[in-house]
């Protein structure tokens, strides 16, 4: 064992001139050796103290926000998927039931009537049909007005 090297390193160390590598070398020497000259042994306590301090550890766990979430059990995943599927099914069913179906039915009925049978074939016939429709409308309106007047007289008589 080259104690001269260790003595030189110790002098350098206490002068504050050692590199980190040299300090590691000194620490390793005192860790590995128990038998040494008395003048060197005086420093063993110091390097033992440093070694002991380096072993001190924190018991702090990683903060919660940086801890990955634990994997969810399979049955919980299935349960969640089932719930989502049920909601989608109900929503889709409701949509199909209430919104566009009635329009489809009307379209089908309309398509079933052959309107070409009712179309006028000559201008005279068109004139006749239109006059007839207007007369019927006029008669209905007059009848409505007469009934309204009659009701008004009845109310006046009762007063």
């Amino acid at each position: 064992m080259d104690y001269k090297l260790i003595r030189d390193l110790l002098d350098k160390y206490f002068q504050g001139n050692t590199s980190l590598e040299e300090e590691t070398q000194l620490a390793a020497f005192f860790r590995q050796n128990t038998q040494m000259p008395d003048d060197i042994k005086a420093y063993a306590a110091w390097f033992g103290y440093l070694r002991e301090q380096r072993a001190v550890k924190s018991s702090a766990p990683a903060p919660r926000m940086v801890t990955p979430a634990p994997a969810r059990p399979f049955w919980i995943a299935i349960k969640t998927i089932s719930r989502i599927a049920a909601v989608l099914l109900i929503g889709f069913g409701g949509f199909r039931l209430f919104s566009p179906r009635s329009q489809e039915i009307n379209t089908e009925k309309t398509a079933a009537i052959d309107w070409s049978k009712y179309e006028a074939e000559t201008p005279e016939e068109a004139f006749r049909l239109t006059s007839k429709a207007l007369k019927r409308t006029s008669a209905e309106l007059n009848r409505g007005a007469a009934r309204a007047v009659e009701k008004v007289f009845n109310v006046k008589e009762q007063q």
């Binding site: 160390y13 206490f14 002068q15 504050g16 980190l20 300090e23 590691t24 128990t34 008395d38 005086a42 420093y43 063993a44 306590a45 110091w46 033992g48 103290y49 440093l50 070694r51 002991e52 301090q53 380096r54 072993a55 001190v56 550890k57 924190s58 018991s59 702090a60 990683a62 903060p63 926000m65 940086v66 990955p68």
Partner: protein, 169 residues
């Protein structure tokens, strides 16, 4: 990506941060709290990580600042308690079994007598193995002051060890 970096580069430094906080505060519970706070703050500032040259030194600086803030808040600690540094009751000591108890007592006493700056510089160098440049950054201290403080601290420890050897004081 951030999570992986945190777990590989930052979380493993927590023991260093803890020892440093413990040296500054002299109280295990407060030191643990500071470590948690540092980890949370570091995570919350993950957007800044690419701009930080040395994340470990940055965490140590944050530990120092938070410890100083906490120390100001809890002035009820006596100087003696705060200066006592790492308490004795934490780990069983193989060291104490190997060497005479008076050495340990005298080393603790000598460390407690050191000025705060010398104590911190010595801790960062001799226990945490930081470079002079890193110590300078962490403690916000000029490089030459780091070297002077380390030199004085080591000289004082050497005198104590030699006195103990000669006189058992």
């Amino acid at each position: 990506m951030s999570l992986q970096f945190f777990h590989t580069h930052i979380f493993p430094v927590k023991d260093k941060l803890y020892r440093f906080a413990l040296r500054l505060l002299g109280n295990t519970a407060d030191a643990e709290d500071v470590v948690q706070e540092v980890l949370i703050k570091t995570w919350n500032q993950r957007g800044e990580w690419p701009n930080i040259r040395n994340v470990e030194a940055w965490c140590m600086t944050l530990t120092r600042n938070l410890s100083i803030d906490r120390k100001r808040l809890h002035r009820h600690y006596t100087t003696e308690e705060a200066a006592s540094g790492l308490p004795d009751e934490r780990l069983p000591s193989p060291f104490q079994a190997a060497v005479a108890e008076e050495y340990t007592v005298n080393i603790q006493k000598a460390l407690n007598e050191l000025p705060e700056k010398q104590k911190l510089v010595m801790h960062l160098r001799d226990i945490e193995g930081q470079s002079y440049q890193e110590i300078s950054e962490i403690l916000d201290m000029p490089l030459n002051q780091v070297k002077i403080n380390l030199f004085r601290a080591r000289q004082y420890i050497r005198e104590t060890l030699l006195k103990t050897e000669r006189y058992g004081l």
